[in-house]
């Protein structure tokens, strides 16, 4: 009960602050909104159109990137909270209205997910084995991220070096008492850092972004508050910035989820810095998702707490302590970001290959997520409905391709698996 109360308060608070930051054009969650949000005057008629644009660019992420994985894992993908906060912040005229509406969205999502976590397994018995099978596939595949990024950066030679490093991390994890997946990811990324260190440096172009970086620094109080609230949720292991981390949390691998969060931060850092230094509007979540890493790591230090698809087994005291560590750690990381933006912006324009590295990591994460979504969907459907599950998942993939890929592959696997889980319950009831 304490965990639920804490989750609702933190979720409502973080979403409300995110809405307020968007309302003041201080920070937005969606990268696509960042360059244009300051164009709309605080009470101008163009805000309605801007809110429409914000919704248009967010709806697909909410429907396919966030919702299916959230329903399966019981871990909230942060897009469910903070993309609506963007829309409300831009759309509503008064800040008080934004705070109330966004807090209601945040609280509603957290309550809805708690209901799913509590009542999902007894109502849909296939949910637990389906989720466990899916999560097992993700655990196997996430160490491929560094080699896949390396292949895009430096071809097969760098990919093989990265794969060898990842294997070394995997092997050394057991004697060191660490998480194999986490260490494989972290050690596998070392050759990418070496590649970046050897990359070219260009003469600094004549660009002045001091007004924009100064504006971000002026927004730091609100950003710190947001980070503390969202980091608290991460300490409860109830939020993830992207589906792979959510699946790892569902598999009881918070250290691996922290490693993925750090890779995600490296992947998005150039994008966040670029879009912020040109717009003066920051990323609500900073470099996603490293603000979640302290919360995850607090759970990794404390013994594993969660089994795929089951309600949390965290003790109330463990929840409060985890949320506290997550909140403080996240706020500290956000402070580093805000205070370091001007320096990092100047460094980034002289080191354009950092953007290439970020793009390679983002592409690699998408590649792995797409494969994991389809294989995980197949594995989950085989686990709970071998007679027809793969047909449902495979049929959905074929239909989607024929329809011009209306649904992103990363959303299709989890969504099809949800259908299989429901079908399994119906066939059981009818037999």
């Amino acid at each position: 009960m304490i965990e639920l109360l804490l989750a609702v308060v933190l979720g409502a608070g973080a979403t409300a602050v995110a809405g307020a930051l968007a309302h003041g054009a201080r920070a937005v969650y969606h990268d696509g909104l960042r360059p244009i949000v300051r164009d709309a005057a605080p009470h101008g008629p163009e805000r309605r159109a801007l809110a429409g644009d914000a919704w248009a660019m967010s709806a697909g992420f909410i429907a396919w990137y966030a919702l299916p994985t959230t329903l399966l894992t019981g871990v909230v993908i942060s897009h469910l909270l903070f993309l609506p906060a963007d829309v409300l912040g831009v759309r509503l005229a008064k800040r008080g209205s934004v705070l109330i509406a966004a807090a209601l969205v945040g609280a509603g999502v957290m309550v809805a997910v708690a209901v799913v976590r509590t009542f999902g397994p007894p109502l849909l018995p296939a949910l637990v084995p389906a989720t466990a099978a899916f999560a097992a596939v993700v655990v196997q595949l996430v160490p491929l991220i560094p080699p896949a990024a390396a292949a895009r950066l430096g071809g097969w030679p760098l990919a093989l070096v990265s794969a060898a490093f990842a294997a070394l991390g995997w092997l050394l994890a057991a004697p060191a008492g660490g998480d194999r997946v986490a260490l494989a990811i972290v050690v596998g990324c070392l050759p990418l850092g070496w590649h970046l260190a050897r990359s070219r440096v260009i003469a600094a172009p004549d660009l002045d972004f001091s007004e924009q970086t100064g504006r971000v620094r002026d927004s730091l109080a609100g950003l710190l508050l947001f980070a503390a609230l969202a980091g608290g949720l991460a300490g409860l292991l109830l939020i993830a910035g992207e589906p792979l981390a959510a699946w790892l949390l569902a598999a009881g691998r918070p250290a691996a989820a922290a490693a993925v969060a750090l890779v995600t931060a490296a992947a998005f850092l150039p994008l966040v810095v670029t879009s912020s230094m040109t717009s003066g509007v920051y990323s609500t979540q900073g470099y996603p998702d490293w603000v979640f890493a302290p919360g995850y790591l607090s759970a990794a230090v404390a013994p594993a707490v969660r089994v795929a698809g089951t309600p949390s087994a965290v003790s109330p005291l463990g929840s409060v302590a985890g949320a506290g560590v997550g909140a403080v750690g996240a706020a500290l990381l956000m402070a580093v970001e805000g205070l370091g933006l001007r320096w990092l912006a100047a460094w980034l324009v002289r080191h354009p290959e950092l953007a290439t590295l970020g793009a390679a990591l983002r592409s690699a994460m998408t590649d792995v997520l797409n494969v994991a979504a389809l294989l995980g969907g197949l594995a989950g459907s085989l686990a709970v409905a071998p007679a027809y599950g793969p047909l449902v998942v495979g049929g959905a993939v074929v239909a989607n391709e024929l329809a011009g890929r209306r649904v992103p592959p990363y959303g299709l696997g989890p969504a099809a698996l949800l259908v299989v889980v429901v079908l399994a319950r119906l066939t059981e009831a009818l037999s």
């Binding site: 969606h30 990268d31 696509g32 909104l33 960042r34 360059p35 244009i36 164009d39 248009a56 660019m57 697909g60 992420f61 396919w64 895009r152 260009i202 172009p205 660009l207 994008l271 670029t274 879009s275 230094m277 040109t278 717009s279 980034l348 324009v349 354009p352 290959e353 953007a355 290439t356 793009a359 983002r362 592409s363 998408t366 011009g404 890929r405 209306r406 649904v407 992103p408």
Partner: protein, 128 residues
């Protein structure tokens, strides 16, 4: 004296899956287009200083990382998102955007096969 051969259209491509987009652009434009994979800052600067004719940025949404630097350096009026996740502007809409003077185009990576050739075709048909 024969007319000098017009120089190829120079298109910089930045962001996610840029190899796939570059291949699509080369197939669409053939010898009439010079495709230059680039970083977003160098690509936007190239368009700003006139050494490139157009910028195609790629990301998941077609509007975030795809165009952030281009909007900052070229201005919003010269940039447009022509595809988002799961859907793309029509060739006619893309042609109209080019006619309006847009030079930086945001594309969602899942729409590369349909959208990038349409951008290249519209740019090639534009009076130069």
């Amino acid at each position: 004296m024969p007319d000098p051969q017009p120089r190829p259209l120079r298109v910089v491509i930045a962001g996610l899956n840029q190899d796939e987009a570059a291949d699509a652009a080369r197939r669409a434009g053939g010898a009439a287009v010079d495709v230059i994979p680039s970083t977003d800052i160098e690509g936007a600067l190239a368009v700003r200083d006139g050494s490139a004719d157009a910028f195609i940025g790629l990301c998941q949404s077609g509007s975030g990382g795809a165009l952030a630097m281009a909007i900052g350096l070229l201005g919003r009026d010269r940039c447009i998102t022509v595809s988002r996740m799961g859907r793309s502007s029509s060739p006619q809409e893309i042609r109209a955007a080019v006619g309006d003077g847009r030079v930086a185009f945001g594309v969602a990576v899942d729409q590369i096969p349909g959208t990038v050739p349409a951008i290249v075709s519209a740019l090639l048909d534009r009076p130069r």
